[in-house]
């Protein structure tokens, strides 16, 4: 936050001061809970209470010997990985289809794919619950994977679709003219050009799935994902152990952002996730 205030002596020429003050205040609002979360993960006296007392690593020690938390982390990682594979396996062809094929119901298809991102999770979660119930499928991590995989197709589709718009078709044409078949052309020409879009989408899907709770809430079987494990503990009473695990996840998310950012800088675009926002926010015609 210091960055914002200091070393910037010429705000007067850069617009009214109140705009800067407002920006600082909004950043303060956005970061206050995160700062509190991290700070109190080191607080010996529990999650509340000002000022924090007896700074300690005890909660991290408790966390590292907490079996159920790590089981749920492992479950979440598995779910996120498989969901990512499903979303890409369906979302990448869907982007190609939207870019290159005409088929009945195309407009409806595009809207349906985007719907889970804007629809409250309770609707998507419950409608999938009814489907699995009707098909007599027992709820488990598999049902969560199917839910996440389906809800996040749109992330892969929008990111890859944006990549396809920038793609030079002549390359693919040349490849086909020179005797490569569609399969070879796809893997050797199309895919390498879409690499950054796909990696970006994969990172985003992975993180969104790791954090997802509203849909998982209804599709959970016996094994918990990390957010649901935390949810269960919140209802039983809270300890800074939850702050500790959240802090660790936050640090890993930051690493993911830095990786994403590096990729984007190379690609000439740094506005992470903007394709998804623009597609969901309408004007995707």
């Amino acid at each position: 936050m210091e960055l914002l205030v200091s070393g910037n002596g010429s705000e007067a020429t850069k617009g009214p001061r109140w705009l800067l003050a407002h920006a600082v205040a909004v950043f303060g609002f956005l970061y206050l809970p995160i700062a509190v979360l991290i700070l109190y993960s080191f607080n010996g006296e529990g999650v509340g209470g000002f000022p924090p007392r007896h700074l300690t690593f005890d909660w991290y020690r408790v966390l590292f010997s907490d079996g159920p938390i790590w089981d749920s982390v492992w479950n979440s990682l598995q779910v996120a990985f498989v969901a990512m594979v499903i979303s890409l396996a369906i979302g990448v062809p869907a982007a190609l289809a939207l870019d290159r094929a005409q088929f009945p119901g195309k407009a409806l298809f595009r809207r349906l794919v985007l719907l889970p991102l804007i629809l409250p999770g309770v609707i998507t979660g419950l409608s999938l619950l009814m489907l699995f119930n009707a098909a007599a499928i027992t709820l488990s991590l598999l049902t969560i994977v199917l839910g996440h995989g389906t809800a996040l197709i749109s992330v892969a589709t929008t990111e890859v679709f944006a990549g396809l718009q920038k793609l030079d078709r002549a390359q693919e044409e040349a490849s086909l003219d020179l005797g490569a078949n569609y399969w070879q052309t796809f893997w050797r020409v199309t895919m390498p050009n879409l690499k950054l879009s796909i990696i970006g989408a994969a990172l985003l899907i992975f993180t969104l799935s790791m954090d997802e709770i509203a849909v998982s809430f209804f599709l959970i079987g016996r094994d918990n994902t990390l957010p649901l494990e935390i949810w269960g503990r919140l209802r039983r009473g809270i300890t800074p152990e939850i702050n500790a695990v959240s802090t660790i996840i936050f640090v890993f998310s930051l690493v993911a952002i830095v990786v994403w950012y590096r990729l984007r800088v190379r690609d000439g675009r740094t506005e992470a996730g903007m394709e998804v926002v623009e597609a969901v926010g309408g004007s995707a015609s």
């Binding site: 509340g48 409250p120 954090d211």
Partner: protein, 282 residues
């Protein structure tokens, strides 16, 4: 240049998947909303409008829906008040630091929704950070009870969560405004205020509409923040749906409410898109 087989190969698998796991569940929800539950707790596949009649007849559903819409409306207004000036500042006055600031807005989105809601709970509770801070500096002598387990807590938390979502489309719209329009307005003698209200703001309306739709729709359907922070007076419509699918065991009635929400959300998105197109540049 792409053969029929290629087009089939990229079109069919997504179509089948989306039909199976998106279209079918939503249709099934629609069907469920016409069914009922027998006294032996079995779903009766008999078609009637009874669930919808029940929704019209029983006041608590309406009241809860209106309370949810009122909470969502406040979240939307506060998110716009926080997000718009921030987006404007970044787009027009942040200079070299634009990239950094943009990332700073995005980063909180990567912290789990649940964890941020939980963090607010630890701040607002009666033994929470804020109350103990106020007592520590002797501003108050007793904990302020309205902070947690109230609609206030829900609005505050949801505003925190959806401000970045509101910011993003507004920022995108502002970034798309050709800068020479702004310069032309300056050169022709308009004051900064006139330039803002006559050039910048009208051109950013599609972004404002998209951001407002995000904030309103997503907070309208929220059920976790009310459960965690809302208390009895902060119950929202999705909490009723959740209890109908859980302890109350009336899936058909829950499906009817969900379907009404789905209709409401889809028509809001539709409306917002129409308006965005009306206001869009070129």
């Amino acid at each position: 240049m792409f053969s029929r087989a290629y087009k089939m190969a990229v079109t069919l698998p997504p179509l089948v998947w989306v039909a199976a796991f998106l279209l079918t569940p939503y249709l099934l929800m629609f069907c469920y909303s016409f069914w009922s539950v027998s006294s032996a707790q079995v779903i009766v596949h008999h078609w009637s409008l009874d669930n919808y009649r029940e929704l019209l007849r029983v006041g608590v559903y309406w009241q809860t829906l209106f309370r949810s819409m009122w909470i969502a409306a406040r979240v939307t207004i506060f998110s716009l008040l926080l997000g718009y000036p921030l987006a404007y500042f970044l787009s027009f006055h942040a200079g070299q630091r634009k990239e950094l600031f943009y990332q700073l807005v995005i980063i909180p989105l990567w912290v789990s929704y649940l964890v941020r809601a939980y963090a607010w709970k630890t701040i607002l509770g009666s033994d929470g950070v804020l109350n103990t801070l106020l007592q520590y500096v002797h501003l108050t002598r007793h904990p302020l009870e309205f902070l947690l387990y109230s609609p206030f807590a829900v609005v505050l938390t949801l505003t925190h969560i959806y401000t970045p979502f509101t910011f993003l489309p507004i920022y995108a719209a502002l970034e798309h405004i050709p800068r020479n329009l702004v310069e032309a307005s300056h050169d022709l003698g308009a004051t900064p205020g006139q330039t803002f209200w006559k050039i910048v703001f009208p051109l950013s309306i599609p972004g404002v509409l998209a951001g407002a739709t995000f904030a309103f729709v997503l907070s309208l359907g929220d059920f976790l923040a009310p459960l965690l922070l809302g208390g009895p007076s902060g119950i929202m419509i999705s909490n009723i749906v959740v209890s109908l699918f859980g302890a109350a065991y009336n899936w058909p009635l829950g499906a009817a409410i969900s379907f009404c929400m789905l209709l409401l959300v889809v028509s809001l998105i539709f409306l917002s898109e129409r308006l965005e197109r009306k206001w869009s540049f070129s």
